[in-house]
């Protein structure tokens, strides 16, 4: 029973045994979960084997985000196991998070026995009904003989095409029942599901012709490049090098092209760099590789890249023309399409107007010189931007492979702006859903997959409290995650928007009665560090990294710093609010009444 099953082999076993067997046969080594009445048979099987390690979390939401972090950092599906009713409803947030960020997540939920379904039984909820809109697909398995097929199909649906979350809901009597198990077999996959991998070659040739004719090109890449695997990132780098084009990326795509690369413009969008957004606005040919024109990226749609011919490469046909009308849409896995693009470019005579590209880079140089990420250093108070820069330096100094997760808010944007990401799969953040509380459990998931790596959750004082209980899970599982809190005692991004939109009336965005994070860390059995002075920061960071325990680092930063540059609501890419222009008056007047209504 220990070897992987071969296609065609069949065994009799219970539903609970099948779950474990199917996990093994699909290459699963770690499961994040929380037991309860309706999954006890599965937990009993977990107890009697050693191939799959179960990571006990403290809340089902934590299991989901941990599985997401695990998935994002390994390229493998994350697996969570929760009970019926509240276990399943607590999983909803990570499921929707994974749906919006295209993370492969397999969620197994227990359900009340089939005979009790619909009777409002104890811990019953309509799990497939509740999770239908927040999964790529879900199944309620009422017959144990369907279970093997459904579980294998669940892994396939989660990991192929545009990846996403799936739920398999298994009633308790099905877990106890005995039926026939068979190994994963590509032949019994359903006919209706057939994601397209290769792009249309003729369209790719057209795309290359458009790129060759470009005078002011830009490459805009996204999370699809990360999802496609390391080879896609390598090909993206090759394409950038071949063409000499400037490249920017969405929040989700950071690391696909290295931040130290010569063609890197920084992140684009609402808190993107001036050069990235201006290059987007003024370009004549844009190629979107695995991104979806999210509203945080586009700003005002009717003024989005007004002179650009747009090429959009995406594995999901519904992404093409959803928000921004593209001139050429290519449906396929970005890895496959990039491979073709590189090959076709190599076989061509290359760029037609090299002097135009040179001029374009000159213009970009002028925008870069605007230094849009500049902030005013302070000797007495730690600036949050400075804290991220020092953290980056400290991680390099340590020589350790470093993974960064974040919560959601100002600290997340500063992390994206100031931590240089060099590799794909090393940056985990909640982009689409914007889930406060994502980062701590995600860091746990990353650390479980990468035991020796440095895993840092760059957190805010407000976000981190949403899932702080997972410190207990980190201590239990010897996962020495580092929770680096940029503590400004505010929900900083909420406050920033209140300053922009609501006349500086800071309604409930001041976090009163914050816990003592150092004592909190110690209470959990971890290590607590507090730092308030810029000149003490480096030593404190080294101490954090050197610790073999989970650490909560309470980094006291300038309370009122705001996150710039910023495209205010209702503005276009070329109407950014830059840090040196962000006077109180400018901030107060940046958004009109109409803009306020729609934010």
């Amino acid at each position: 029973m220990n070897a992987k099953a071969k296609p065609g082999e069949k065994w009799q076993m219970t539903g609970a045994e099948m779950v474990i067997r199917a996990l093994k046969d699909n290459g699963v080594e770690h499961v994040f979960g929380y037991p309860g009445g309706a999954v006890l048979p599965i937990y009993d099987e977990i107890f009697q084997q050693e191939d799959i390690e179960h990571i006990l979390v403290r809340h089902e939401q934590g299991a989901g985000h941990a599985a997401e972090g695990y998935a994002r950092s390994t390229g493998k599906p994350g697996v969570m196991l929760v009970t019926s009713g509240p276990g399943a409803t607590n999983a909803v947030t990570p499921l929707q998070d994974a749906l919006m960020d295209s993370i492969p997540l397999v969620c197994i939920t227990g359900q009340v026995p089939t005979t009790l379904i619909g009777s409002d039984a104890f811990q019953e909820c309509d799990t497939v009904g509740i999770t239908r809109p927040c999964t790529k697909h879900n199944w309620l398995v009422k017959d144990v003989n369907d279970l093997a097929r459904v579980l294998h199909e669940a892994f396939r649906v989660a990991t192929t095409g545009r990846p996403g979350p799936v739920v398999v809901d298994i009633p308790k009597d099905v877990q106890f029942a005995t039926g026939t198990y068979h190994a994963p077999d590509i032949a019994d996959m359903r006919a209706s599901y057939h994601p397209r991998l290769s792009g249309d070659e003729a369209l790719i040739e057209q795309a290359v012709a458009m790129l060759r004719a470009a005078k002011r090109p830009i490459i805009y890449s996204g999370g699809g490049v990360i999802n496609s695997g390391p080879e896609a990132s390598r090909l993206l780098r090759e394409l950038v090098e071949l063409t000499g084009f400037p490249i920017t990326s969405t929040l989700m795509g950071l690391g696909a092209y290295p931040a130290s690369g010569p063609n890197w413009l920084g992140m684009l969008g609402m808190h993107g760099t001036y050069e990235a957004n201006m290059t987007m606005h003024d370009c004549d040919v844009m190629v979107n590789i695995g991104a979806r024109f999210d509203d945080r990226i586009t700003g005002r749609i009717d003024k989005f890249a007004p002179r650009a011919k747009i090429i959009h490469i995406d594995i999901d046909p519904s992404s093409i023309n959803k928000i921004i009308r593209s001139d050429l849409g290519i449906i396929g896995d970005v890895g496959h399409v990039l491979e073709d693009m590189v090959r076709i470019w190599r076989a061509s005579d290359g760029l037609e107007d090299k002097s135009a590209l040179k001029q374009w880079w000159n213009q970009i140089g002028k925008w870069r010189a605007r230094n849009s990420l500049a902030y005013t250093p302070n000797k007495d108070v730690i600036m949050p931007q400075y804290a991220i820069e020092r953290l980056h330096e400290a991680s390099l100094r340590s020589g350790k492979e470093t993974f960064i997760t974040t919560e959601v808010g100002q600290h997340q944007m500063w992390a994206a702006q100031f931590f240089g990401f060099e590799q794909p799969n090393h940056w985990m953040t909640s982009g689409g859903l914007g889930t406060m509380g994502y980062g701590l459990p995600a860091a746990l998931g990353v650390q479980i997959a990468h035991r020796d790596a440095l895993v840092v959750d760059i957190a805010g004082d407000a976000s981190v409290l949403m899932t702080i209980q997972e410190m207990s899970a980190a201590v239990q599982h010897n996962a020495p995650i580092k929770i680096f809190i940029l503590n400004n005692q505010y929900m900083g991004m909420v406050r920033q928007w209140q300053q922009l939109l609501h006349g500086n009336r800071l309604s409930h965005s001041y976090t009163e009665a914050l816990p003592d994070f150092v004592m909190l860390a110690e209470a959990y059995g971890g290590k607590g560090i507090r730092c308030e002075k810029p000149d003490e920061l480096d030593d404190a960071l080294d101490e954090m990294i050197a610790s073999d325990k989970p650490v909560i680092f309470d980094c006291r930063v300038a309370n009122l710093a705001n996150c710039f540059p910023m495209i205010p609501s209702g503005k276009a890419h070329n109407e950014m609010l830059l840090p040196d222009e962000a006077t109180d008056e400018a901030v107060a007047n940046a958004i009109s009444a109409e803009g306020k209504a729609l934010v």
């Binding site: 309620l140 209706s192 005002r300 749609i301 999901d316 007047n589």
Partner: protein
């Protein structure tokens, strides 16, 4: 670059709709499994699309496939999105915009039929008139006593609407309609 200039929109910028809405009929071939209709309907409600008519029944019993006919209304951009979003649903095999296909073949619309049961109650002249009109519309009587008829009528939606409107002053009691079933003209399947 001037942050003080008046903004005219928002980060959630809602572009002015320049396209006009059209009514289209979609045929959707799905695996007939529990929840499949909920997935389709949930997509429409969740993304704010319209459903004007929806008809569903298993059409291929061996394959357990159902054919869903949806009449929807939206701009060409929205209609493209509806089709693409439907195709993302795992148990959906195919989505065909029958209206587009009909227009490609030089017709205004695909073949569309609805069936309605119409109960009319009355005595004397109005009863005679109802029967006479039903005959003109080729509606058949499927149930009757001295004070009521139930008519079965099949046809295009406009015909059914017209028939119901005419029956209204003649003692219309209730109506039940199946919704639109539709198919492309010509020899090819969907």
């Amino acid at each position: 670059m001037n942050a003080r200039q008046q903004a005219t929109g928002s980060a959630y910028f809602i572009a002015k709709e320049t396209q006009t809405a059209e009514t289209h009929t979609l045929s959707v071939l799905v695996d007939n499994e529990p929840g499949v209709l909920a997935r389709v309907i949930g997509l429409f409600s969740g993304r704010g699309y319209n459903i004007e008519s929806l008809t569903v029944s298993e059409t291929e019993h061996e394959k357990h496939q159902s054919r869903i006919t949806i009449v929807t209304r939206g701009t060409p951009h929205v209609l493209d999105q509806i089709k693409a979003q439907l195709e993302r649903i795992v148990p959906v095999h195919r989505v065909v915009d029958l209206t587009v296909r009909a227009q490609d073949l030089g017709h205004e619309k695909p073949l569309e039929r609805e069936l309605a049961l119409v109960k009319v109650s009355g005595k004397g002249d109005s009863r005679v008139e109802a029967l006479r009109l039903a005959d003109a519309f080729r509606a058949t009587v499927i149930d009757a006593n001295v004070e009521h008829f139930i008519f079965e009528i099949t046809g295009r939606t406009s015909k059914i609407e017209q028939f119901i409107a005419i029956m209204a002053p003649l003692g219309l009691v209730e109506v039940c309609r199946t919704g639109v079933a539709a198919m492309s003209r010509g020899g090819e399947g969907m």
